[in-house]
């Protein structure tokens, strides 16, 4: 059972991202939206952790949140729009939103 994990909180102010990366299953995927996209900030430990994730784990970022914050998305992550977000939510067996 593959799970899509959705993070929307800044990775610099709490431990959701690091906890999530630790417990991701090999079939799971991670989608960053809202302030969670600050994990893509160049030069941060959080971005490095994302880039070091095994290739089989799919990583996504919501395009408009990346743009609004003036960030550059590394190639390791695929950018999706809202229809893509919905498609991913349907594609995985379940969605775990880290509220």
């Amino acid at each position: 059972m593959a799970t899509l994990h959705v993070l929307s909180h800044s990775p610099f102010t709490d431990s959701r991202l690091s906890s999530c990366l630790r417990i991701l299953g090999s079939q799971d995927a991670l989608l960053l939206c809202g302030d969670a996209v600050y994990a893509l900030q160049d030069g941060s430990a959080q971005r490095q952790a994302l880039e070091l994730m095994p290739e089989n784990i799919a990583l996504y970022a919501l395009n408009e949140d990346v743009q609004a914050r003036g960030l550059l998305c590394p190639t390791r992550l695929k950018q999706v729009d809202y229809p893509g977000f919905v498609a991913l939510s349907c594609q995985y067996d379940k969605v775990n939103t880290w509220l």
Binding site: G34, D35, Q41, D65, A68, G70
Partner: protein
């Protein structure tokens, strides 16, 4: 003699009203000639990023309001060196001239002000 107020802004610009409200307090205080200081801490340092496009989220650009601070007499502007470094922002240009402070200077800064508010 009016009391001095230090505002500590630690919210990222797009995440909610916190960043704007901190800025509004600073601007209002400046308009009344109060001695105001503004410190960007934690995710608040993202407010200083010059590459933001908040229109993508149908939001107004906060950085335009930041530029108004000196015009309102708010010139004591500080940012945490540690918060910048943790986010890989230490070499990035800032949209506003702010003084970088280390942790001990921040504690001395807070000490200097009569009142402090953190948003």
């Amino acid at each position: 003699m009016s009391k001095s107020l230090l505002i500590i802004s630690r919210q990222a610009p797009c995440s909610g009203p916190g960043a704007r409200e901190a800025l509004d307090i600073a601007l209002a205080g400046g308009a009344f000639d109060l001695p105001i200081g503004l410190l960007f801490l934690d995710d608040g340092v993202f407010q200083l990023s010059s590459a933001q496009q908040p229109a993508t989220l149908q939001q107004k650009d906060l950085s335009a309001n930041l530029q108004a601070l000196p015009m309102f007499g708010v010139e004591a502007l500080y940012v945490s060196q540690r918060s910048l470094a943790e986010r890989g922002l230490q070499d990035q240009p800032s949209s506003l001239a702010v003084e970088r402070l280390d942790d001990s200077s921040i504690s001395a800064l807070i000490d200097r002000y009569d009142q402090v508010i953190t948003l």
